[in-house]
Amino acid sequence: MLGACRIVDATGRLGWLAGRLLADLGARVVKIEPPGADVSSPQWRALNVNKRLVRLPLDAQSVDQLASDCDILIATPEPGTGETALFDYPRLASKNPALVLVVLTPFGLTGPKAGWRATDLEIMAAAGAMSLAGEPDGMPVRVSAPQAYAWTGAQAAVGALVALAHCRATGRGQLVDVSAQAAVIISLGHAPPFVDIAGVSPTRAGAFMTGRSVAGARFRVFWPCRDGYVNFILYGGAAGRRTNEQLVAWMRERAVDLGPLAGQDWAQWDPTIATQEKVDALEASIMRFFSALTKREFLEGAHQREMLGYPVSTVADIAADPQLAVRGFWQDLGRERHCGVFAVIDGKRPALLEPR
């Protein structure tokens, strides 16, 4: 879809996914790396596949030349260093007025922290994401596989194409100044409106979900099973009620002690007003049932019964998931098996390009 779009990707890890997503949709992306840069890590290879690698030292002359011959230039200059001057928009636009320049930095190019340094850890901290993960009284944690770079790259791809749409209409390019901190805020979901509508700052709840009940009840999310954990929540609404009814039916089939579940009228179940005492009573019987299931049994049983809930997968579980195989999600390039293009367009998943 982006076959008419030429992109120069001069990014570090903060921006790799931006060019990958755009390349997946057909853009011709040239990835610039300095001579001698290591491109062997799985992260580099996974997020720079589908691009053409060119080794070139970045200086004012080379950046000017690259910018004059592309539609979109993506860069991740180190804040507070001379690198930001390399990607000065007025200078580059004087050579190519239609240029869309996308600059990704931890906090954006303006504001009091524009010069601050941050990696995944500090970005997740600054965006509030760490405050929402971990045990309630324990240390805030990040996802062990860095996420901030992906959020920033994905949002940068949105910004690049919004600016490209404007350019197609007017012929004028512009600067897209992406803040990683702000990009990660999107991951917080519905936590922010609690602050100024309810006057509370949501916080981490370990293996539980909070923020659903006006009575303050917390709902178990992760349940030990035979070979790991499953994710199940006593939801409300039509889908939640159906799920809960199906779960009880499943437990009956297995002759499991239902406890207070036996007398629960799910048509009357409303988690938004449930008390903790009520939730705890219902969850005790479910805990015993799940502890005897495997992740695969839960996945298949929940699917057959149209229940909400999934196992907690490892990358090995994901790699073996038949759903992904049937949809042709994986693509082999040489000896490497990659995540394929993220979307199916007009009934076909576009192919990744063989490395050149």
Binding site: P140, G159, V162, H166, V178, P193, T203, Q323
Partner: protein
């Protein structure tokens, strides 16, 4: 001021996060976005997720719905009513983009499938987003994003090595899918600009989320290594973690080279500190006892060390950096009152994004959309209303 997506018309069928958040992102740059609900089945975010105005659930009192639906028009249509379905078709015929996040096949059964709609509007771009995608053995699986985040591997990778997996608060993966969904819609608009062709885009929220673990998945496929949760550790940095401060907050700090560690040690008054976990923990603990996380981060950043306070969600509303970039934009909602909406995470120098209006109350823009946008006469509108089309 010219808006980047001025003139782009989008119609949304669906609810919760994964569909409507795409429309919100594009509405912030000038697209006209019509969010379609029905009175029988309003968007689930209106009544199933707090916070509510004054803590009381109500159809127009939900902050969660509001947060993801600013800058849009809101209408009600009963698509099981023949007049309602006809109006939905006419809206689709006049739109550039249709976004839906129902279970696979539902929108086609309603009579609004892509094959039917493209006959009347060949330039239409339609995006369907759901848990598993439109095809495959589990395509019909219902699901919410908070649970799908577990299937997609993120929860397994969050927490301490010996402890349970951790939740990432809400429907984390939905916002990955909505972000890449917006990328796909914009790419389809670019193709249509070049060729005139419409497009049908099938987004699996599961697959979208896996793009955020692409490196870990490639490593597993290549070497068999299964990525595990590791608290806050990183194999390439020391220190790399969150450390409690005397005032009750936490400091996130990391050092990625010997030179950076030397600056860190000097800054905390322990030049020559051994670069090993226990020594660092003791030295930092002592240094942080009398400091706030913000003050500690400022001191460390002054000597070019990676550091930031672990912000609470409340802190985000007083963060001077976010304020300087107008991250939070306040609008007066007719029921909720004045509250904050989230602006885009990127600033466009010529056509910046903007929260233009609060989220619509249920059906607030029926008349504006069906009279002004669709061109119904007053009599036609009244007849549709009398027939129950707007129920």
């Amino acid at each position: 001021m010219t808006r980047a997506l001025q003139g782009v018309r989008i119609i949304e069928f669906g609810g919760y996060a994964a569909g409507p958040h795409i429309g919100k992102m594009l509405a912030n740059f000038g697209a006209t976005v019509v969010h379609v609900e029905s009175r029988a089945r309003p968007d689930g975010f209106r009544m199933q997720y707090p916070p509510y105005k004054d803590g009381k659930p109500g159809i127009d009192r939900g902050g969660c719905f509001a947060f993801f639906n600013d800058s849009k028009l809101g209408v009600t249509l009963d698509v099981k009513n023949p007049r309602g379905l006809e109006l939905a078709r006419r809206l689709a015929a006049g739109s550039d983009v249709l976004i839906e996040n129902m279970r696979p096949g539902v929108i086609a059964r309603i009579g609004l499938g892509y094959e039917a709609l493209k006959k009347q509007n060949p330039r239409l771009i339609m995006l369907s987003t759901c848990n598993m995608g439109q095809t495959g053995p589990r395509a019909d699986t219902p699901g919410f994003g908070s649970q799908l985040t577990a299937l997609a591997g993120m929860c397994h990778l969050t927490g301490e090595p010996g402890g349970p997996p951790m939740l990432l608060y809400g429907p984390y993966i939905d916002f990955i899918a909505s972000t890449v969904g917006a990328v796909a819609v914009l790419a389809a608009l670019e193709r249509r600009h070049q060729t005139g062709e419409g497009a049908y885009i099938d987004i699996s929220q599961y697959e979208s989320g896996l793009m955020f673990l692409a490196g870990e998945l490639l490593e597993y496929h290549t070497t068999g290594k299964v990525a595990e949760r590791a608290g806050n550790d990183d194999p390439d940095a020391m220190p790399h973690g969150a450390f409690a401060c005397g005032g009750g907050g936490w400091l996130a700090v990391s050092c990625w080279s010997a030179a950076e560690f030397a600056r860190f040690a000097q800054c905390i008054g322990r030049a020559g500190l051994r670069r090993e976990p226990q020594a660092i923990e003791e030295a930092l603990s002592s240094w942080l006892r009398e400091r706030s996380a913000d003050a500690a981060a400022r001191a460390l950043q002054a000597v070019r060390v990676h550091a930031h306070a672990v912000a609470t969600v409340g802190d985000l509303f007083t963060d001077p950096q976010l304020a300087a970039r107008a991250q939070w934009q306040r609008k007066v909602h007719p029921v909720i009152g004045e509250h904050s909406y989230c602006g885009p995470p990127f600033v466009l120098s010529e056509t910046p994004g903007e929260v233009t209006r609060p989220a619509p109350t249920l059906g607030a823009d029926n008349e504006a959309v069906f009279r002004n946008l669709l061109g119904l006469t007053a009599e036609e509108y009244a007849a549709c209303e009398a027939a129950g089309a707007f129920a």
